[in-house]
Amino acid sequence: MKRLAALVLFLFLSACAGLEPRGTGDLGIIIERATGSVLVVDTTKRAILGRIEGLGDLSHASMVFSRDQRYAYIFGRDGGLSKVDLLERRIAARIVQAGNSIGGAIGPKGDWVAAANYEPGGVKFFDAASLAQLAEIPALVDGKASKVIGIAEAPGNRLVFSLYDAGEIWLADMTDVKTPWVRKFKQAGQLPYDGLITYDGRHYLAGLFGEDGLALLDLWNLEAGTKKIMPGYGKGQEPLPVYKMPHLRGWSQAGDEMFLPAIGRHEVLVVDRRGWKEAARIPVAGQPVFVIARPDGRQVWVNFALPNNGLIQVIDVPTRQIVKTLKPGKAILHLEFASKGTEVWVSARDDDQVIALDTETFAELARIPAQKPSGIFFTSRAHRLGL
């Protein structure tokens, strides 16, 4: 009798396997940049759970996760904003909110999502549940619209971002989400190309293309305004061509130091956060694009622009030495660490594969087929400020 009951139970469970409850903390999204689709992956089993299509132009896509790690908000190049359900693997809501977009952020409370736009420029805010528009901040300076980059949520229900054309950093207070209150920091630096907020939410850094250096804003001391760090780091040298713009996020931080891509130099800049002075420069194999610390801060992994985009270099943080140069595949576009740093997934666009690597032995753990993969995003980002 017991056995029969067990059999019945087994059959019942098999029948509704698709509805079996499961967590989402070990899931992830792989952007398939050329086909407007994403893969939902299980990072524990290193397996594809499904593909979601119809997301528009994802050739420069980024995304953020909801607090409950069930939904991904995907920002497409074409201004599309899609809310994707990782469990049901479908589009829960989708709007086209601008002509040309670069990325976005989610409010610290998870109630709003903000998109940074190139065309027409500015920032738009949407209800995280419905994607209904809540507010807009046009990035107008002297009547000229600016492209917005380096968008990040900040403690105190705020949003910080940079104006590419105008060279300003703006901080928006979203206490009343329908009427943002904006504080502007003018003359932050020339052509900020991306920005980051540290995980503790204290410091915002904008990388500058128009000059050697970075702009720093201390959110605990706004009266001090912005200041330049690493000014003139390439003094007297002819800059090398930058075939691809680097990206900045809080994952630049390893312990008390920030590891940042130089612009037009084949170097990683190391800046001590306790005074924002240069600590070291590490020569690397090319123009760095992503410089990402393993979550424990012991290693920093670097990928590169053309023609060195088949390489990854690993920096040992205490000795600042490159301890490994890897060639995992063709056109390495992005890398993402498992939340506790045990493994890293890298996207090899021209191999149509994502490769999982062990971060201690550098051994290959798995290859996951994906169509022209670019960004890889694990749900553990949901609980980190600025990701």
Binding site: R33, A34, D57, S59, H60, R77, D78, G99, N100, I102, Y118, E119, K147, I149, Y164, L191, Y193, F209, G210, P241, V242, Y243, K244, M245, L306, P307, A331, R349, K372
Partner: protein
């Protein structure tokens, strides 16, 4: 959906040969290069991004020679880098002509 081979053949016919137009295999690589690598800033569909849009309507002020010159030597004061270490003069001209004519769908 047009087959890539047919598309390339149509392109080859549509574009008058430069000094030495890249062979079909190289044209295929250049198209991929345009979409993926130029596209990193200009958008995969050339509608623009951090870089300006490159659709024919956006290029009315440019002749192919001038455009090829920008591709090879970059544009000072902007992030447009010089591509001369990765592309030949003929390849840059082939890309420039195609862009001005709107031959790259």
């Amino acid at each position: 959906m047009v087959k890539p081979v047919a598309l390339l053949a149509a392109l080859a016919l549509a574009i008058p040969p430069a000094q030495a137009a890249p062979d079909l295999e190289r044209q295929k690589e250049l198209l991929e290069f345009l979409r993926q690598d130029c596209g990193a800033c200009h958008g995969m569909t050339l509608k623009g991004g951090l870089g300006s849009p490159l659709l024919p309507g956006n290029l009315t002020g440019y002749d192919p020679q001038g455009l090829a010159e920008i591709i090879l030597n970059g544009k000072l004061g902007t992030p447009m880098p010089p591509w001369k270490d990765l592309l030949t003069q003929d390849e840059a001209e082939w890309l420039a002509q195609g862009l001005v004519r709107g031959a790259f769908p």
